[in-house]
Amino acid sequence: MDDATATSLRERVGEIYRSDSRSVLATLIRLLGDFDLAEEALHDAFAAAVEKWPEDGLPANPRAWLVSAGRFKAIDRLRRRARFDAASTALAQRFEELGSSAFEADAENDDVADDRLRLIFTCCHPALSPDARVALTLREVCGLTTEEIAHAFLTPAPTLAQRIVRAKGKIRDAKIPYEIPSHADLPERLESVLHVVYLVFNEGYSASSGDSLTRADLSGEAIRLGRLLVDLLPEPEAIGLLALMILHDARRAARSSPSGELILLEDQDRSLWDRERIAEGCALVERALGSHRFGPYTLQGAIAAVHAEAPTAAATDWPQIVGLYDVLMRADPSPVVELNRAAAIAMRDGPEAGLDLIDAILARGELTTYHLAHGARADLCRRLGRKTDAITAYERALELAAQEPERRFLERRLRELKGE
């Protein structure tokens, strides 16, 4: 084999790592029954591929080759450990008895998709803490490094690494099974998966200062994860969540000024919206709505679609948005949904109507420490010309807001009102 072919084969290993390493890992975890052993086996298998493929040529089924190589490497490792403990010997023997045919057959059939789902559902198991689910999913399913995840979540790397170690420890010690949930458990378990994807997306979407680049990657990662999930398990709410994320992401370029200032939906330059993504998002919303089994994510996606389809802010179909919030309030009532519904009502019926609703929420003692509730209230007071009330509410919002672009936005509004 000449050098050029060898070089291109080494490049192929890199490509296959990017496209297939997560699914090879998913299968190895099932076959070896252990996250850490499977991760080591995965790295050993790719190291072997870098060595062998340039010599022997690309195998007919690289994925099956990698799974099989991973198994042999795992047996090797267990053998070496076996000098120190009896349990490893037993495990190594069991893997050998399973035989390579079982491993290779497994690697070829459509268990590939099932393994990826097993991995997702295990990483998002409700018995793990929400923080751990997010970290583990990004690490194992998306293949991000611990450092990348730590950076994106502004968490020290050792803290994040420990979170992942603990989660894997719980999976092993409490015996969280590596399986796709039964039909009866699916709704609850899927909700947990979708919540993880949504958390990852929001982390990337809501922060637009400082680390905006890495954080945008986090949104991209969430969308990739959402697409994978829709491919593997096209449940209406998975489709609805993907639609919601794509529609929000389509407005990314218009959401902040080049200097990082926040731009409200009504002030955004709609020519910067990504029309192709909007079309894709709207089609997904329709697909999810057509199932008649949709839930909160699809409804939020539908609301985002109405906004995205409005040619101008003034031309927004507010009655339809209020209608969708009414349905959302029945499907998944929460004070935050109520607040958003109040803002939509203010647009449909005037600021006074919206303000009454927001005051009612705050009077119940809810959302009193939520900066967006005070921000929305301030905005409506401003529109009604109630300047003093508006200033008080903006100041309260500013006390509670943590993100820099939001703080700068509120400060700007305050300066305008005070005529500085």
């Binding site: 009896a86 198991h125 409490a174 015996k175 969280i176 099974p177």
Partner: protein, 119 residues
């Protein structure tokens, strides 16, 4: 795999409960215990007397001290337990979810630590 299902609920709820309601719940417990005995999940279980009967023991610097009351004063108290056999956590969650107190209290599931018998 063995799991201990610890049943936490508000023990002050029981004395104030109408007799028929308490009887109904006890009936549910009786049926549940029967069910998991038949299904092979049951290894053991007991109800505990209220925490006013609890004594907490510590040995510090070789000196034993016992104090009145439970280890921690909490809103919900350990009221009983089941030791069950389940293939994995998902199955344990399914069994624990059927414990009557899960509806008004909480069930903590703890995997049993198995020590190597070989040595």
């Amino acid at each position: 795999m063995k799991y201990l299902c610890l049943i936490y609920d508000d023990e002050t709820m029981w004395p104030s409960m109408p007799r028929e309601q308490a009887d109904a719940i006890m009936g549910e417990y009786y049926n549940f215990t029967n069910d998991i005995q038949k299904s092979g999940h049951y290894l053991g279980g007991n109800a505990l007397q209220p925490t006013q009967t609890a004594t907490t023991v510590r040995v510090r610097n070789g000196k034993l001290s016992s104090t009145d009351g439970p280890f921690a004063e909490t809103k919900e108290q350990l009221g009983g337990y089941y030791l069950i056999e389940a293939t994995d956590l998902n199955e344990a969650i399914q069994v624990a979810g059927r414990i009557p107190s899960a509806r008004f209290g909480s069930i903590e599931i703890r995997p049993i630590q198995e020590f190597d018998q070989a040595q």
